[in-house]
Amino acid sequence: MKSRYKRALIIAAALIVIGVAALLILNALNSNIALYVTPSEVAAGQAPKGQVFRIGGLVKQGSLKRDGLTVHFVITDLVKDIPVSYTGILPDLFMEGKGAVIQGRLNPDGQFIASEVLAKHDENYMPPEAKHALEQAQKSERKE
């Protein structure tokens, strides 16, 4: 085979690999992205419906209630509160009054069913998304 064809074939093979990978990536990105939403946005009905998303905020003081393995608590940006329920074991750093990020979906009566509670590994660390939610809420308060 002529070396010109050979090179063309090798390049074509590489392009096919890259093309298929690009398709895979686009497809996977489409279905596996979780949007961050603040509690105020959820209260205003701006949360994606029937889709998984994440909420960042503070765990409201005194809101944590246990019912066997299921826990109920409220996540807040100090303006709006969103009730959350989660079944399973909470991470070590999950505490009332501390920042948290949770992933899950909204059920029809406005309760957030968490599938995952994410906590960080440092007690003095505030998840940037939780901080962002608090700042957003403060800003919109001032405007009003």
């Binding site: 090798i10 590489a14 996977a28 279905s31 596996n32 070590d92 660390y125 962002h132």
Partner: protein, 639 residues
Amino acid sequence: MIPEFGHYALILAFCVALIQGVLPLIGAHQGRREWLVLARPAAQVVFLLLATSFLILAWSFYANDFSVLYVAEHSNSQLPVIYRFGAVWGGHEGSLLLWIFLLSTWTVLVSQLSKSLDDFMVARVIGVLGLITTGLLLFVLTTSNPFERLFPAAQDGRSLNPLLQDPGLVFHPPMLYMGYVGFSVAFAFAIASLLSGRLDAAWARWSRPWTTAAWIFLTLGIALGSWWAYYELGWGGWWFWDPVENASFIPWLVGTALLHSLAVTEKRGGFKSWTVLLAITAFSLSLLGTFLVRSGVLTSVHAFATDPRRGIFILIFLALVVGSSLLLYAIRAPKNTMGGKFSLSSRETFILLGNVFLVVAAGSVLLGTLYPLLIDALHLGKISVGPPYFNSVFVPIMTPLLVLMGVGPWTSWKDSNLMTVVKRLWLAGLVAIVAAILIPKVMGDFTWLSSMGFMLAFWVIASGCLQIVRQAKAGLPTRSFIGMQIAHLGIAIFVIGVTMVGAYQEEKDVRMLSGETVSVGGYQIQFQGVSDEPGPNYRAMRGTFSLMRHGKVEAVLHPEKRNYFSSTMPMTEAAINAGLTRDIYVSLGEQLEDSAWAVRVYYKPFVDWIWGGCLLMALGGLIAITDKRYRVKLRKLVA
């Protein structure tokens, strides 16, 4: 007074590193011998200065000198001595110092083990490494000085994050950094050869063992990190596609491609530009990883409080390194470097294809890692890209790579007859198909994904075994060959572990009262209760669980919930009963009502094969480095 000496040593190291980075390069360019011979002594002085500085920081930790801000923030007087040592790199400043110290260690090793290399090349390699050292030292001195004083001195330190109080901290970061930083040697060799215009097989032969050494450390470092996360974080996962994990995995993928591409350059003189580009990319990605971890732009399990301003400096440094090396590459990269002619069914083609898969995989992981940052930077909202993305992209890209891995080693350079290869491989194909049908049957649940995993793993194993037998008949195989086979076997073992855990693990979160039993994977686990136990710098709630099979007690497990005195956060210590074919993993959640506890019980079949496979990969690399042709070089050196 002693910490100030550490600081002075750092400043001096910066000055000498500047000399090491500038004069030898100019000397090599203008042919001034008196300048380029400075390279070796300068590198040695920098190493000694950095070692001094590093030891002084370690001593400050050992002596509990809380007038040093960094010590006060990351240690306290109750911390056991071994963790005080680990705490040296438990924070930002110290881990950067470790980074630079290891960089100068590599530099000195290169300068000592390259005596038979010509002075011009040595001067250039050490010069490039000197420039990197200079840049990073500037970063440490201006933004992250570990010797900064605290006045008045703290009574006691804030303590090390309890999560880090584990032997994992002592070994994982140095291993990982050794690997990360080691790619700088391959990078320096590549840049030096571009500068000199001498991209030949000798260059590849020189840089190959260094690249392999770095790759070994990176492999071990990542595996250690994964194992640490598995037993320490209390979630029982071994890989989370966390951005910081990805930051170490992307250079590994590119480094693996580089290893193989270097083989072609060494043996056949081909793929030169491609190899150089990979060397530049691997190191740039290591730097990018450092940037991602140290700048605090990422939300990740590794995101301890960080300072975003530092990110700007690393970003500029990164842009300088990548920009200047790519510019140099564009100007000097040799044209037409496919090397000697090779046919489509040659080993060159297989390595090239493998390279494409590895690089595409690295690209897809990089994209998933950076995508949230990109979206945020463009003010399009905040998003997260989760593990499902990585799994659904990464697995399909790796599948054909494993198929290639079974065939590639059978082909010969230049040209080989694919029909003969196929004739020799039919048995391996048969083994793979039998494994794909049989193993899921034995495990009790057939899924296409697990079936495919076993097929690929046994395809690679059988192909490797057949080839070893064949080679052994023909005479003693070279160490390169043995190393390659063991590393490939490691991949297969790893794939078996991943497939088994993915398909057949059982995870149960349950509420348990004392005396109750839960069963997973054919075992019964009985909760015996929780007692109060004191530790050196914490109090623990210690659970007792009996692990039973067929009514007989096989082991007693003690997971703990610890409260460290210096911290308000509780810490979960899982208890693991490890075995060759399964791990039983028990960890305590929180106390519910009365004496009931939330308990996490996992059955993880073949999970240890994941890390065992990584160990085999590293072992394979180690055997390959000791190959005769590199030893000849060493013997010459001694003579």
